[in-house]
Symmetry: C2
Subunit: 207 residues, 2 copies
């Protein structure tokens, strides 16, 4: 193992690898080669090996990778063994869908709190998570929740982010279609569904 600054693109791919490894384990495999893992995920085998090499290389030459061990390592690198709980703000259509989304569990992630401003929604439960009033956002600090998902209307996104950061949140997954300005120490990943759909036509030949 040697020190390297880890490319951001490698970090982006780690959850992809993790997903592949966990799927492979589900199917009863214990070992996997970079080639098989790559094919399963639609990437190149040398990319896989290069990415793992930044962390020291986890495989056995001539054999491949031990799935469980590698998955554990990736979880550790991604800090998924420490940070697990996330809060969701904005329980509209999209927010409700995210609350009910079953895919977080495989990464050890859990939506542990949900907030909304509508009195009609506050108090209800979705997927066993009780919806709290948005004024209670500051409780996140003592609950040690450092991740949040924003699914409020665009105009409320920046203010929501400000409150979340004041409550100690360090990472934000933003579903609102706008840029959110945050201090350097806070990481924001924005998912804009419409924007992703909007760039598909570029790849479609006219006619």
């Amino acid at each position: 193992m040697r020190y390297h600054r880890i490319p951001d693109e490698t970090i982006r791919r780690l959850p992809v690898y993790l997903r592949g490894l966990l799927s492979s384990a589900e199917q009863g495999h214990e070992r996997i080669s970079s080639k098989d893992l790559a094919e399963f995920l639609g990437v190149n085998s040398w990319q896989v090996r290069k990415d793992f090499s930044y962390f020291g290389g986890f495989g056995t030459r001539g054999v491949g990778y031990e799935i469980d061990k590698l998955a554990q390592q990736i979880k550790k690198i991604l800090n998924l063994d420490n940070v697990k709980k996330a809060a969701l703000v904005g329980v509209g259509n999209l927010g409700s869908a995210v609350l009910a989304y079953p895919g977080f569990k495989m990464f050890g992630l859990e939506i542990a709190a949900a907030f909304d401003i509508s009195p009609k929604k506050v108090g209800k439960k979705i997927n066993n998570v009780k919806i709290e009033d948005a004024s209670k956002l500051q409780t996140l600090r003592r609950r040690e929740i450092k991740l949040a998902i924003i699914s409020v209307p665009r105009d409320a996104a920046q203010k929501t982010a400000d409150s979340l950061i004041k409550a100690g949140v360090k990472g934000i997954l933003n579903f609102s279609p706008c840029y959110i300005s945050v201090p350097k120490k806070v990481k924001v990943i924005t998912i804009d569904i419409a924007m992703d759909l909007a760039r598909l036509p570029y790849y479609i030949p006219a006619g």
Copy 2:
């Protein structure tokens, strides 16, 4: 204007610029400088200018960009003036939220069809779109729908994609947490919500 191979990253940013321009127009502006646009979107001004320069540069030196004109140009480049209709397959929690999502309109996109296999859902209407039986997927060809959104369970994603491609679909926005294998001519963009949330902890210092 000169010929250049356009970087994929530039294409990825074009909808971001478009969103910014449309917002700016909403606020009553007619012109905008690369600096102002960049600040609004959280990018650098030289990045904006460089990106536009691949298409020939649309601005006026000393003045800036005419918002309407530039927005039209970007729409044209992205092929958003030709391709507008999309189909959605899988009307579960996430699919319903996507159907009701108001953000597509600003890009001129429209979800014009929705499909599901559940008899309970078929026939219902969400957001004025009638849910059809999934066996009717092949009608997409004569309806000239070339874009599709997949929000079915993971195990059904590949088969759904195969059917869509058989029906003439050329671009797929995939919400299922898995790799989808497609012919080269078909473009797939995968959004994996859990994966995006899963890489946030990496950026959060322990403790």
